[in-house]
Symmetry: C2
Subunit: 130 residues, 2 copies
Amino acid sequence: MHKEHSLTKNQQIIFDLIDKSTEPLKAYSILFNVQKKGIKAPLQVYRALDKLVEIGKIHKIESRNAFIACHNSRCQVAKATAFSICEICEKVTEISSAGLSKYLANFKDKDGMKYSKYNLEFFGLCKKCR
Amino acid sequence: MHKEHSLTKNQQIIFDLIDKSTEPLKAYSILFNVQKKGIKAPLQVYRALDKLVEIGKIHKIESRNAFIACHNSRCQVAKATAFSICEICEKVTEISSAGLSKYLANFKDKDGMKYSKYNLEFFGLCKKCR
DNA sequence: TTAGTTATTGTTATAATATAACATTGTGTA
DNA sequence: TACACAATGTTATATTATAACAATAACTAA
Ligand SMILES: [Zn+2]
Ligand SMILES: [Zn+2]
Ligand SMILES: [Zn+2]
Ligand SMILES: [Zn+2]
């Protein structure tokens, strides 16, 4: 469950766009799409994106420099994320697996160190592309 | 074990630099450091980096846009990587865990799909920074 | 209310990261 | 040799992201 944050105007505009999208959106594509709503500069987009990531409403797909809305109720505050990415059609899906998140949250490295924050990106071919 | 590839001149210069480095290096920092060896343009660096990633001699740390030499004998061909990243000092370590790689290689998503390629980045504080 | 404080926004410029396009050179091989 | 192919060199440009500073709006506390 996401903590309720009341979004500001720009944050709401940009979140709505990302949330409606069926694919991850890139910052400058977002910029292009919200210019008619008065958001004219990259920085306005990046500021909203930063905040939305911070509060867990969206995630950044690091290998693609793109942003996707969170649809994972298990995803507490954007600290532990996992995605599958199709290398052909670029479809991205957030993975919601109790087993996986438990395994990773409990994973200890050689030094016995545990990590509460991680990002995992799986690559392969989606159903359609196989 | 890495398949032996004989590196070309530019690839060797750039690999040596990354391999000697104690921290991940960014492309333009690499460029700056190899200009005295005759590599003058970004593209020359990016081409070498692409190839080195492809053959598994280095990995890209996606969240940092930086490159690190592979020191993980378990790491077959750059298809399955895991790192820990200190959020204060930015120290990056490649994780070599039989358990982790086995778990992830066998992980199946909701649709029963398995992924042989993945990238995992853990975030936290290293020993020194704790 | 009012002044002080902080978050958000707007704006211009610029930094940092990455690729396109094309000409040239080297390397292996039939 | 002649062909194919990989690697290199070079210029220009595309894409992603932040710095710096001014102006507003929203929130607090006296
Ligand atoms: Zn999520
Ligand atoms: Zn696909
Ligand atoms: Zn490796
Ligand atoms: Zn550290």
